[in-house]
Amino acid sequence: DTEAPLNSVSSPWQSSYESVGRSATPAEIASWDIDVRPDFTGLPAGSGSVEDGESLWMERCASCHGDFADSNKFFSPLVSGNITEADIAAGHVASLNDSTRVRTTLMKVATVSTLWDYINRAMPWNAPKTLSSDEVYSLVAYLLSLAYIVDYDFVLSNENIAEVQALLPNRNGMTQEHGLWKVDGLADVNNTDCMNNCEQAVKVESFIPDFARNAHGNLQQQMRVFDPFQGIDTTQSKGA
C-alpha cells in the first residue's frame, strides 16, 4: 500500500543478491521446523497415554499450573470444570458467555494442534524444548482428560488426534468474519467527526476506584520533577 520497499534504481548490480545466504539442509529444517498446524501438518508420529501424562504433569508442570491444571498462581487456569457435555456436542462452550466465570485455556481453544504445538515449543516454561513427542502426546492427553473430553484410559496418537479434534468443546467457537485481518477489511465500528454540540449530556460513568489511587505506587515519582503538569502525591488522599 504505502511506499514500495525498493525504489527503482540505476545500478546494474541491484538485483544480483541471489548468491547471498545458502540453501538449508534437510537436517537443519528438521531441527527447526516444529510447527503443527490445525490440519496436523507437521505433527510427528507418536503417542502418549493420559496415565503417563499425569505422572509427567506432576513432575514437570504441576508446580506452576497445579495438580489439576486449575491453579492461577503462575498463569490463568488451563482447566476448571466449566465445560459441559452439551458444549462438547455443540462444539461451543456456553459458559464463555457467563462473565462471572474464569475463561480457561480448554474453554477457549478450538484446535487441539494448538495445545500440541505450544507445549512442544514452549513448555515447561523454564526448560522449553526438552519434551519428547510422546511426552507431548501424553501431556495433551492428560489435559484433555482433566476437561472430561477423553477418559482416563485414553491414549492420544497421531492416528486418533483428528477424532479428538472433533470432540473439542469450543471447536466451533471461532469466527474469522471480521474486517481486522486484511489491510482493506471493513471496520465494524463507526463514529463521525461531529464538531459542535455533539453530546447532549456528558456523564462520567466510571472513575478509578479510590483504593486504586496509589496501587501503582506514588504517581508523583512517575512524573518529571519539573513540568507544567506535576505528579500527584498519591500517598495523600484525594484533594489533600
Binding site: 500500500d1 504505502t2 511506499e3 525498493l6 543478491y17 541471489e18 547471498v20 545466504g21 545458502r22 538449508a24 529444517i29 527447526w32 521446523d33 510447527d35 498446524r37 490445525p38 501438518t41 461451543h92 464463555l96 477457549k108 478450538a110 484446535t111 494448538t114 504445538d117 505450544y118 515449543r121 514452549a122 524444548k129 469450543n170 471461532m174 469466527t175 468474519e177 481486522l180 486484511k182 489491510v183 465500528v189 463507526n190 463514529n191 467527526d193 464538531m195 459542535n196 453530546e199 456528558v202 462520567v204 460513568e205 466510571s206 472513575f207 478509578i208 496501587a215 501503582h216 504517581l219 512517575q222 512524573m223 513540568d227 507544567p228 503538569f229 505528579g231 500527584i232 498519591t234 484533594g239
Partner: protein, 401 residues
C-alpha cells in the same frame, strides 16, 4: 489549594535568586567528552522509566513493561523507554550464532547469517508498534491511573532491515499455493504468528536496526519482524524462521490469546489491525495542573490502516471539538504528535482526543465500541480516552457514558 508554580515563587522583588546568583554550572569547568562514551539520560529524569502494572501478570517474564508516555515527546520512542511484552523473558542472543531460516512452500529453503542479511538491500522506515492488548485493562471500567498504564504498550521507532518480500523472492515462494507465512522466534517461547502473504509482501521488514543502532535485546536483538499497523505480537522478536504455507497456523497466541470474545460468545480470531487511535498524553491521569491559564495540550495519534488525517480535541467531554496541530512529517503506520492550546479556567473539564485516519475512519466512543463488541474483549480497545480535570487541577482517568 493550588500549589504555586515555580515561576511565581521566583517573582521576588529584585529578581530570581537563580538568576541573580549564578548557578555552579556557569562558574565551573564541566565534564569530558565521551564520559560516558555511550550517553545516558540526566539524573533528573529518573522518574521517566518503564514500569509494570502490579497485578496485571503473575510473573515478571510473561509480562509487560509500559512506556512512560506522560514524559515523552514527539513521535520517536527513545529505545531505553520502548515498551516490553515478553512471554518467556528476554534473551541475550549472540549475533554470531543467530540464523534466519526460510522454509515451507519455497523452491529453495534458505539459511542466512546476520552478515548475509546485512549484505542485502535494506530499507529504513518509521513505524509504531502497539500491543494488541494496549488499553485492554480499560475495556470494562476506568482501571489504571496514568497514561503509562492505559496506553503505554506503544512505541514508534525507525527500523532498518531487509524487506521480507525480498527474502521470499530469493527463496522462490510458490506463487500459486502460498497464502500465509509463519514467523517464529528463537527465544524459549519460540513465539509464532501467522501473517497474511499479501501483507508479508507489502511493507513487512526483517529488521536489525532500530533508531540508528541495533535492536535492543528486549526488542529482539539481533533480528525481529516488523509488521506495520498490526498488533505488536506479530512483529516476532529474536526471529529465527519464516515458513511459507497455505493455511493459517492457529498457534497459541492467535488461537488461545489475541482473540476477541464477542457478545454472542464467539471469538473473533486473527483480528490483527490496530485501528486508528489517539490519546492525550499531557495533561493525563495522575498529573495536576499547577495553576489556571494557558497550556499546550499534547498527545499521540496513529492508524494501522494508513496515515493520520486529523485529530480533534474536546475539553467538555465530547460536546465541542477543535482541530489540533499535527507535528512534523505525518507518516504511514507511524505515531503522529498533535498539539493544541487551551486555557484552564479552574473549572472541571473533561479532555478527549479523536483521530480520523486516511481511510475516513473516525476513532469511536467507548459506547460505540461496546455496542458492537461487548465488554469482555481484551484486545483492540481504541476507544476515545477521557481525562477529567477537577477543581484542584488533579487529572483523573474516567469513562463517560
Amino acid at each position: 489549594m493550588l500549589m504555586p508554580v515555580i515561576s511565581q515563587q521566583a517573582r521576588a522583588e529584585e529578581g530570581d535568586p537563580d538568576i541573580l546568583n549564578l548557578p555552579p554550572w556557569s562558574k565551573m569547568l564541566g565534564k569530558s567528552v565521551a564520559s560516558p562514551s555511550y550517553g545516558q539520560p540526566s539524573k533528573y529524569e529518573a522518574n521517566i522509566q518503564r514500569r509494570q502494572s502490579p497485578g496485571l501478570t503473575q510473573t515478571d517474564q510473561a509480562s509487560v513493561s509500559f512506556s512512560p508516555l506522560q514524559g515523552m515527546f514527539g513521535m520517536i520512542t527513545a529505545s531505553g523507554l520502548h515498551f516490553e511484552r515478553h512471554h518467556q523473558g528476554w534473551v541475550d542472543v549472540d549475533p554470531r550464532r543467530h540464523r534466519l531460516m526460510i522454509n515451507g512452500l519455497v523452491n529453495s529453503p534458505k539459511v542466512f547469517t546476520m552478515e548475509d542479511l546485512m549484505r542485502l538491500p535494506s530499507v529504513s522506515r518509521i513505524h509504531f508498534i502497539e500491543c494488541g492488548a494496549n488499553t485492554g485493562m480499560e475495556w470494562g471500567n476506568a482501571a489504571v491511573p496514568t497514561v503509562q498504564y492505559t496506553h503505554g504498550m506503544l512505541s514508534c521507532s525507525e527500523f532498518t532491515g531487509v524487506p521480507l518480500s525480498l527474502l521470499l523472492e530469493m527463496a522462490g515462494y510458490d506463487k500459486a499455493k502460498a497464502k500465509y507465512i509463519l514467523a517464529e522466534g528463537a527465544d524459549g517461547s519460540a513465539m509464532t504468528r501467522t501473517i497474511d502473504l499479501e501483507r508479508a509482501l507489502d511493507d513487512v521488514i526483517v529488521a536489525y536496526g532500530m533508531n540508528g543502532e541495533m535492536l535492543r535485546p528486549e526488542n529482539g536483538y539481533p533480528l525481529r519482524l516488523v509488521v506495520p499497523g498490526v498488533q505488536g505480537v506479530s512483529s516476532v522478536k529474536w526471529l529465527r524462521r519464516i515458513e511459507v504455507g497455505d493455511q493459517p497456523y492457529a498457534t497459541k497466541d492467535e488461537a488461545i490469546h489475541y482473540i476477541d470474545l464477542m457478545p454472542d460468545g464467539q471469538h473473533r480470531q486473527y483480528t490483527s489491525i490496530q485501528e486508528a487511535k489517539s490519546v492525550i498524553t499531557n495533561p493525563s491521569g495522575g498529573q495536576r495542573l499547577m495553576s489556571q491559564g494557558f497550556y499546550n495540550v499534547t498527545g499521540l495519534a496513529w492508524s494501522g490502516r494508513g496515515t493520520v488525517k486529523k485529530v480533534d480535541v474536546s475539553f467538555d467531554g465530547g460536546r465541542n471539538w477543535y482541530t489540533a496541530n499535527l507535528e512534523g512529517a505525518v507518516l504511514p503506520k507511524a505515531l503522529t504528535r498533535f498539539n493544541i492550546g487551551w486555557v484552564w479556567d479552574g473549572k472541571p473539564a473533561i479532555l478527549q482526543s479523536r483521530v480520523t485516519d486516511s481511510t475516513g475512519y473516525v476513532q469511536p466512543m467507548k459506547r460505540q465500541l461496546k455496542e458492537v463488541r461487548g465488554s469482555r474483549s481484551v484486545y483492540h480497545n481504541n476507544a476515545i480516552q477521557s481525562w477529567r480535570v477537577n477543581e484542584s487541577g488533579e487529572v483523573e482517568n474516567v469513562q463517560t457514558a
